[in-house]
Symmetry: C2
Subunit: 216 residues, 2 copies
């Protein structure tokens, strides 16, 4: 069975998945890099995302690197692909340079469709304007028998969770208060009843919360 | 130095300190007892709050019982003292029966003042209508040289934190999504910068987050 999985999705203690004032210079707005420092400090993050040696090799690393195996496609929201207004730039190809860290077909949810873009390292960006259910079906076909990563940002994660499509969700609570931005948890009352929930804190200060469907 | 301390203050993963629809039958509204199950499962909670034997003796218990030593007075919000409208009942003396678990002078913030009530076990309820700063000063005098517990609910905790009065804050994040109720974290952007923050999860599933002032 092909699962829909959320990994390494960081939120502040007050529930914001990104800050306010997103721009080309500030992809996470006033949150800066604070939500993701834990990930860039891991051996996996340094190697895969920064191309650097070193990094921690404990619990943060172990959970971070679960994001890759078994994934055959990613779906992301328009807000993850670029700063507000990226669709007005025909040359925009994402934040990640010529070799994005996805290495699979990657579907961008947007009302502004454009031709697919083949990048290096196995990533192809497809632009799709469809419901969560239909988008997941399309991504599953592209993934073969493998799983689909639900890549964020917070609005699209919430939309997919609300639609009951997410089988596994790894949330990382960072002990900072952002105060403003985009909330992840709105409208998800009682979500825990459909999942097994496991919580573990790390010496880095973050807390990993994993929701997995009881049946999976 | 007399500190102002918050202990055992439970919030849902989406940041609600109490539910919606508070009443005599449902002191925490639709949240029911879910925010506090962790506490009633500890040896301290069973002994001090339920008068029963047994209970867990690990991390939840250790942190829960830090709430008592050194406390010389408590301040609580009107919403903790009784259900909505309790001030219209001249006989209302709180939820806790003749021997409330405070055992100190206990100040209830309310616009509806009434004469103090001496209860069993060392608890005296005083009714006060003043700012957080003035109330804390009054409570400190009553506490002698001891600390003052900031007892909740969420609105008064937020008010005292916002006023910069809280020296130590032990928050317990329960991995449920309440979806509605009273939020604790609103308006507290950047709070962590004034505190040392330590996070530890428990086998019970809750996560303890402790804010302590660097200078304390």
């Amino acid at each position: 069975m092909s699962l829909a999985r959320v990994h390494n999705f960081s939120v502040s203690l007050d529930g914001f998945g990104t800050g306010e004032g997103l721009s080309l210079e500030a992809p996470f707005g006033h949150a800066g890099h604070r939500l993701h420092e834990w990930m860039f400090a891991t051996r996996w993050g340094r190697s895969e995302l920064l191309g650097q040696p070193g990094g921690s090799a404990g619990i943060d690393d172990a959970l971070a690197r679960k994001s890759t195996p078994g994934i055959g496609a990613e779906i992301m929201g328009a807000g993850k692909f670029g700063p507000p207004g990226w669709h007005e730039d025909p040359e925009w190809k994402g934040w990640w340079g010529p070799n994005p860290p996805f290495h699979t077909p990657t579907f961008i949810l947007t009302h502004h469709r454009r031709p697919s873009i083949e990048m290096g390292g196995g990533t192809t960006f497809h632009f799709i304007d469809a419901s969560p259910t239909d988008t997941l079906e399309t991504a599953r076909k592209a993934a073969g028998d493998q799983d689909v990563r639900i890549g964020g940002g917070p609005t699209m994660v919430r939309d997919f969770v609300t639609a009951g499509l997410v089988d596994h969700m790894h949330i990382v609570v960072v002990p900072i208060l952002l105060g403003r931005g985009v909330r992840v948890w709105d409208g998800l009352e009682g979500l825990e009843t459909g999942y097994d929930v496991e919580t573990v804190s790390s010496p880095s200060g973050v807390t990993h919360v994993t929701f997995s469907r009881a049946a999976v």
